[in-house]
Symmetry: C2
Subunit: 222 residues, 2 copies
């Protein structure tokens, strides 16, 4: 009995592992870490067909990672709890530490990585309090509206150049987006440094900020 029990139990845990065993599902989870999304929206950002997205979402639900809610025609999915964010973080940490390929990828795509030293959440909070930095949220407007770091200005990548015209010279800028590997913030910092602006990125993104229990601001007209 004891053997059967353990076997059964590990098989249950493996169901969660299975859900995490596909890159597309992990991408869906990352988007869901920012808040509720419809199937259509998720299909859009992931580049999958709607039917395929729906099937992946159902697998995630069966593994207990996401939950859904129907409103009118649309079905909205969300992470079933913050434990899922912690799990994703653990996964990322292990992958980063132990998969040489991940490091290689990051170095290939983000060549100036070393020069973009990230700023920690705690340090950012201090510097914002002392009014030393401007925080910009480089995600698309709709993601920003669904929740963002208090006081952050929404500057989607396309609007970055225009935005930079109007800032005071010498002002330090911190950019963040969807998470520690979201390229938007890397890109933004690279652009700003190019122009001689003192820019850094937050070490991780909005989902982690929210998950850490820090205050968030929501635009209620969404």
């Amino acid at each position: 009995m004891s053997r059967g029990f353990k076997q059964d139990l590990f098989n249950q845990f493996a169901r969660v592992g299975k859900a995490l065993s596909n890159g597309n599902r992990l991408e869906l989870l990352e988007f869901l870490a920012q808040g509720e999304r419809s199937v259509e929206a998720l299909a859009g950002v992931s580049g999958l067909t709607v039917a395929n997205t729906s099937q992946h979402l159902q697998q995630l639900r069966q593994a207990g990672l996401v939950a859904s809610r129907k409103q009118g025609l649309k079905v909205f999915y969300r992470l079933s709890s913050n434990d899922v964010i912690s799990l994703m973080d653990s996964l990322r940490k292990v992958a980063e530490h132990h998969l040489a390929d991940v490091e290689h990828l990051v170095n290939t795509y983000l060549t100036v990585k070393d020069k973009l030293e990230p700023i920690a959440r705690e340090e950012l909070i201090e510097r914002v309090k002392d009014d030393l930095v401007t925080v910009i949220d480089v995600r698309p407007a709709e993601e920003y509206a669904a929740g963002h770091v208090p006081g952050a200005v929404n500057v989607p990548i396309r609007e970055l150049e225009a935005y930079l015209q109007q800032i005071e010279p010498g002002q330090e800028i911190v950019a963040y987006c969807r998470g520690p590997h979201c390229v938007l913030a890397f890109d933004a910092v690279a652009v700003m440094r190019d122009k001689g602006i003192n820019a850094r990125r937050l070490e991780d993104g909005y989902p982690e900020w929210k998950n850490a229990g820090l205050p968030v601001e929501v635009d209620s007209d969404e």
Copy 2:
């Protein structure tokens, strides 16, 4: 480029998820959480053939979860870092919270669960300091020898009855084994309660204790 990068990155993370997507591999990881083990030993405890075990271990290695070392004829595998234990913990936590089946399983096999309130590590440390409890390690002798909670007595399940003859009545006993779902400790507590002994189990097991940075004792003659 940004899309390709993200896709690639998530596929790398998915490699780790894949490694966690099979119950046998999770069982192997749990054993490895206790320390280095040879392929043969791992095949023994998991009930798999040696060839099959070897192949699973290679998958775990490719995912960066385990590392190996050759000594003479034998190859010893170990977890590649403590991050892996944290990852397993996250996985367990999510599975427990969100999979109804896990709860069902635990309740089916461990019917007296509610009566076996676990004791937390911190509380145990206090009570040991005040000499209020005896700690017993119900794992097999070889696992105990490889590392155990300081001051714990090794009482493999088969020797439990004999051991209980010689304890003072009224003494409180805390049992632990391999982790929060290791049935050995549940069984031991059930047996002792049957005999009217004041027994509880530690909320988790040796791997978690060690991982929490608490002191451990090793029998050097192993």
